[in-house]
Amino acid sequence: MPLQEILLQQLANGLILGSFYALVALGYSMVYGVIKLLNFAHGDLYMVGAFAGFGCLSLFSGWLGAGWAGIVPSILLSMVAVGMLGVVIDRVAYRPLREAPKLSVLITALAVSMLLENTVLAFTGGQFTAFSTDLGFTGIDLGLVHVTYTQMVLVGTSIVLMVVLELFVSRTRYGRAMRAIAIDQDACRLMGIDVNRTIALTFFIGSALAAASGVLAGVYYGSINFFMGFLIGLKAFTAAVIGGIGNIPGAMLGGLLLGLLEAFGTQIPGIGGQWKDVFVFAFLILFLVFRPTGILGKPEVERM
């Protein structure tokens, strides 16, 4: 293949991969931004979302078909279900530890992650589950690259979700409450803001976005399994750090950048596909060393 075609193809791949990362990174970053918790179970919510979407699609496909008519309601239902799961996890596992040392909550998050993975493992027996859809490969040719409608819808959906989220956080009373909680929870209580409810809402939104990403990834890759959330969880975390953790546009930017890096990284001579994860995490280390606050993060001023 000519170089130009390869590069264009990788650009398309990178954007798609990046939009999955970005959606998961958003939830990571939101939860971190509001309660300073690295929710390691977040990647697993993506996985549970994929399975919930798969379950819904199996139910709907007889009646609505396995095209977009069946997929869209499956995505929405999966988002609601996993959003509620996120709220339950917060209520049961994290909220009792609100005043506890950060490390306790972090370890709890790891435990929740194990719990979700192993529950799905127990139900599915660890098999890859085929996520079959009726989406074809029709699309449009942009110069040398064939972009399917499916790919366009995937990226489009991600972008719409991100824009809605950004508007929600910057323009509404709930978003304002979230930003205020991130700064001073007690002052929020005195302003009549129900802090626990607002945190629950944050978990709902973050988890729902992860679920959307999971279903979209299932649709795109055509197969899902219980372990699919692990690596993407780590990568979304990387994306959130690169963008500036706690920062919503940063998470989007970090996700897209990471997707592109990974896609183009596979094309660097001597690196190749097997090394893509090495490439990604080496990048994380570089960022942590040279710009720990990320691209859009504000440097923290240490007061002496």
Binding site: T172, R176, A177, I183, L190, G192
Partner: protein
């Protein structure tokens, strides 16, 4: 009529007794002060009122309803707001956003309305923004709206905190050392602002303050705390001349002490 009634309130942490059997009443429409030496338990009283501390015993009623078992955000909804001794602004948000956050408990558009950007939500957001500007005007910093709160001069940050507290539409406003760090002319402005809040808005004020000149000038009723107990109560004149109060503030002579012993 009493707006706030504290009856038999005690507070302790472990073996430490912070407040002991406190009775105190704030009349509706009054400016009332709570004074006492450092560590007397004044700020603890505020923390009990706002629901951050749970008293060991006793009861607190606001306009006849009990508030001593309620979560802080519920107490705020019932009409109680406070400012802090050390500023607790949302420093990274703009002044307007700070005040808008104060409107949270008085607005009701659902999360779904907000996501969908319904008319109800947009109307409400517009009203919130307008209210925020109104309160910033009221406290005398109309031009601060778009500035990041943390970047404002100290005196203006204080006013943002007042505007934020007023935006919650309180019936009773608790002020924790509002004059700390202010110069003489700023103190005059503070007194004028407190009077406007009471006279124009009909909001009752309870303040903790160390500046005795200001307290005596502005208060109609004063309670004095020492070591967690109320040692005196009454009009400024009465409190100023109360021997127990003088003793708590100035200590007593060696001679007196040995006589009493």
């Amino acid at each position: 009529m009493a707006l706030l009634e504290i009856a038999g309130m005690s507070l302790g942490f472990g073996g430490i007794e912070v407040l002991r059997d406190l009775d105190f009443t704030v009349e509706e429409g009054s400016i009332t002060s709570l004074i006492g030496p450092n560590g007397a338990g004044k700020t603890s009283v505020f923390n009990c009122l706002t629901g951050f501390y749970r008293p060991r015993s006793g009861r607190i009623t606001l306009a006849g309803g009990r508030i001593d078992r309620l979560a802080p955000h519920r107490v705020t909804r019932l009409g109680l707001a406070r400012t802090f001794q050390n500023l607790r602004l949302f420093r990274e948000l703009t002044a307007a956003e700070n005040v808008m956050a104060g409107r949270h408990c008085r607005t009701g558009a659902g999360a779904l309305d907000a996501v969908l950007g319904t008319r109800r939500h947009r109307r409400e957001e517009a009203a919130i923004a307008q209210a925020a500007q109104h309160w910033l005007d009221f406290v005398g910093i109309p031009d601060a709206a778009e500035r990041v709160a943390g970047s404002l001069p100290y005196g203006h940050q204080r006013r943002v905190e007042w505007a934020r507290a007023l935006a919650t539409e309180p019936r009773l406003l608790l002020l924790d050392e509002p004059a700390a760090g202010l110069n003489t002319s700023e103190k005059e402005e503070l007194i004028a602002l407190m009077r406007r809040i009471r006279d124009e808005l009909g909001i009752t004020i309870l303040l903790i303050e160390h500046d005795m000149g200001l307290v005596m000038q502005v208060s109609e009723h004063i309670g004095v705390l020492d070591h967690g107990r109320k040692i005196a109560e009454g009009t400024p004149d009465r409190v100023q001349n109360d021997p127990l109060v003088i003793e708590a503030y100035l200590g007593r002579d060696e001679d007196d002490a040995s006589e009493a012993a």
